[in-house]
Amino acid sequence: MKYVDEFRDGEKARVLIGEIESLVSGMKLPEGRPLYLMEVCGGHTHSIFRYGLEGMLPKAIELVHGPGCPVCVLPMGRVDDCVAIAENPKVIFTTFGDAMRVPGSRKSLLQAKADGADVRMVYSPMDALQLARRNPAREVVFFGLGFETTMPSTALTILQAESEGIRNFSVFCNHITIVPTIKAILDSPGLQLDGFLGPGHVSMVIGTAPYEFIANFYRKPMVVAGFEPLDILQSIWMLLKQIAEGRVEVENQYARVVPSEGNNAALRAVAQVYELREFFEWRGLGSIDHSGVRLRDAYVHFDAERKFAIPNVRIADPKSCQCGEVLKGALKPWQCKVFGTSCTPETPLGALMVSSEGACAAYYQYGGQKRQAEVV
């Protein structure tokens, strides 16, 4: 594939790995532990496992799989709300595919569908709007989910619905923002992280400037990284180079896609449609201030949260789940006490086991059994 295969070149990878090894060998490492580098984004986690990058890196580097899978951080109560809306016989409930398996306290959307709810998988919010046009007698609800990556497309769909005067379409808004989340991780007590691989897709929208506080205030280096394996290796090399040279900066490896100022049109749509919530609940991380958005009052007629009666009950994560520790990098997925036993991709207890971008599911699918064997 043009413009893709170039970033999957094994020869170039070997050269980069060699340079990473020589950088690491000349560095002063933290005492008694490897260098912990967190990839914030679930897309990076997926690529790291898919290409077997962890096994190629020197042992002195350990990748920590962060909170950037929006499906994984969805709290159980919000899934219950989705199910409640979907079970309304007037509703066609539309969602991205991997959100269908996330467990609620009673059932997932997939189970609700099996029980008779009209739940349909779509590939974009515009597909949901099209369903609304074709089904004027039904209410079509789109499950708005994801970071700044998907936020603009939901906003633009709402603006489109507004311009067409469509009134049987609404959004159950669960969009979240990345910056407060990184801040919450950096504020976690006892956290040991030496640098961040910044999320490429999110940064395409917000640019690189919003991350400056990570370098300036928390003194941690960050490199905004692309998703191909060579992107990730090069970003790791750039992070190590900063650490080796004593620099703490926000750098942009993914400049071919990410403009430092972000995407103005997308940001305008986001600002027009959403406002920050005071706080938003995250699975495993608890409530994080200003980490979620809701629709502004001007778009209340598109807000499923205000159109439908929803339980809106906060449901605690299962006690045995250690998703929070894994999300913050304090535990490796295979160190969680239920990993691979009562929590598997088939019967996920924790959300990290649901999506292929979730660290636990990725470990389980691409290497979990090996890690398990090491533990045993």
Partner: protein, 355 residues
């Protein structure tokens, strides 16, 4: 007194309406007309012995082909019914022929049970029946018995078909999922994932247009050629639902061995790769309807590959990996990037990722 002369061959019924109604499943004249007009017309005279409740065979016919009877059944549901490269009728025959052929059996007779949703167009049903008959004839098999049921609108999705097949396995063959040994070669007969990608595109709900057609085909001749060229062949299985990844895991499990495959050697069409990239799917798990995984001793791998490549259905045949001595029943892939990853059984169905 005038006697009506005794007529041994019964008169054929004729359907005079455009769509199937519940009457066509009622057991009366409408049903007889449907069977006569649509199915018996398509399947031919050999199937036209409907006055008995079963097809009857001379056992000597089977014995001439082998010493064991192979017997298999499968149900086919697909949306849409017609897609680039095939239709539900072709799929229903190829699937069962292939299930016989992968065990080394010579496919001989098929049954066909059809569940039809009220309202289905008779012409559409006719096209499906003709497609089944044409495919069975190409495969050297015959559809000799069948059943039709009509269910109310909404009780099934247009047409469901179940086909059952019988064949005979030559005495010299003993293929088995437990027979893979360390060092054996893992082969496939061509580009993987075409059927799964073609069906997803044909559904038309993702606004992607691709030229990908299903690989739906009967593989009995190709398999015959492999077995002739590589008589030590250990095991063959068609990589349908769950794709090649699932078959490899079944072999690893069944034989208590591990398998290492090479991403760079695994043949996948560029369009399928791109399609999977866009949707976040893995082509190793996409369904195929004309692809097999073949395990052969290493010294017969080249002969088996050459035999496959001589067949039009094996032009892109490739050696994708080998059985290793590791007994943990794992399937590993050496990525073209130089890393390793596990290729586990698929959990549930593949769902496109959010971003």
């Amino acid at each position: 007194m005038n006697f009506v002369p005794f007529v041994k061959t019964r008169t054929r019924g004729k359907v005079n309406v455009s769509s199937v109604t519940l009457a066509h499943g009622g057991g009366g004249k409408a049903m007889k007309d449907l069977i006569d007009d649509v199915f018996l017309t398509a399947f031919g005279e050999h199937a036209c012995e409907p006055l008995e409740d079963q097809a009857r065979f001379d056992l000597a016919v089977f014995a001439a082909h082998g010493d064991r009877l192979a017997f298999t059944t499968d149900s086919f549901v697909v949306d849409p019914l017609f897609f680039p490269g095939g239709d539900i009728g072709k799929l229903a025959v190829c699937g069962t022929v292939n299930d016989l052929a992968v065990g080394g059996a010579v496919p001989m007779y098929l049954s066909c049970a059809v569940i039809i949703e009220e309202g289905v167009q008779i012409d559409l049903l006719r096209q499906v029946a003709l497609s089944m008959a044409r495919t069975a004839s190409q495969a050297g098999g015959q559809i000799v018995t069948g059943d039709t049921k009509v269910v109310p609108r909404g009780a099934c999705d247009k047409i469901f078909i179940t086909t059952t097949g019988v064949g005979a396995i030559p005495a010299s063959l003993a293929l088995g999922v437990d027979k893979a040994r360390a060092g054996d070669a893992v082969l496939v007969n061509g580009l993987l994932g075409d059927h799964g990608a073609a069906i997803l595109c044909a559904r038309g709900d993702m606004a992607l247009e691709t030229p990908i057609a299903s690989d739906c085909a009967c593989l009995h001749e190709l398999i015959g050629a492999i077995l002739a060229a590589a008589p030590g062949t250990r095991f063959i299985r068609d990589a349908t639902r769950g794709g090649v990844a699932t078959v490899l895991n079944e072999i690893a499990d069944g034989s208590g061995v591990s398998i290492e495959i090479e991403e760079g050697m695994t043949p996948i069409r560029e369009e399928v790769k791109a399609f999977c990239e866009v949707l976040g799917l893995d082509p190793l798990y996409l369904a195929n309807e004309g692809k097999i995984v073949v395990i052969v001793p290493p010294d017969q791998a080249e002969a088996a590959l050459a035999a496959m490549r001589r067949d039009p259905l094996g032009l892109d045949a490739a050696r994708i990996g080998r059985i290793t001595s590791d007994q943990d029943s794992r399937v590993m892939m050496r990525t073209s990037f130089g890393g390793h990853r596990m290729v586990d059984m698929l959990v549930g169905e593949q769902l496109p990722r959010i971003c």
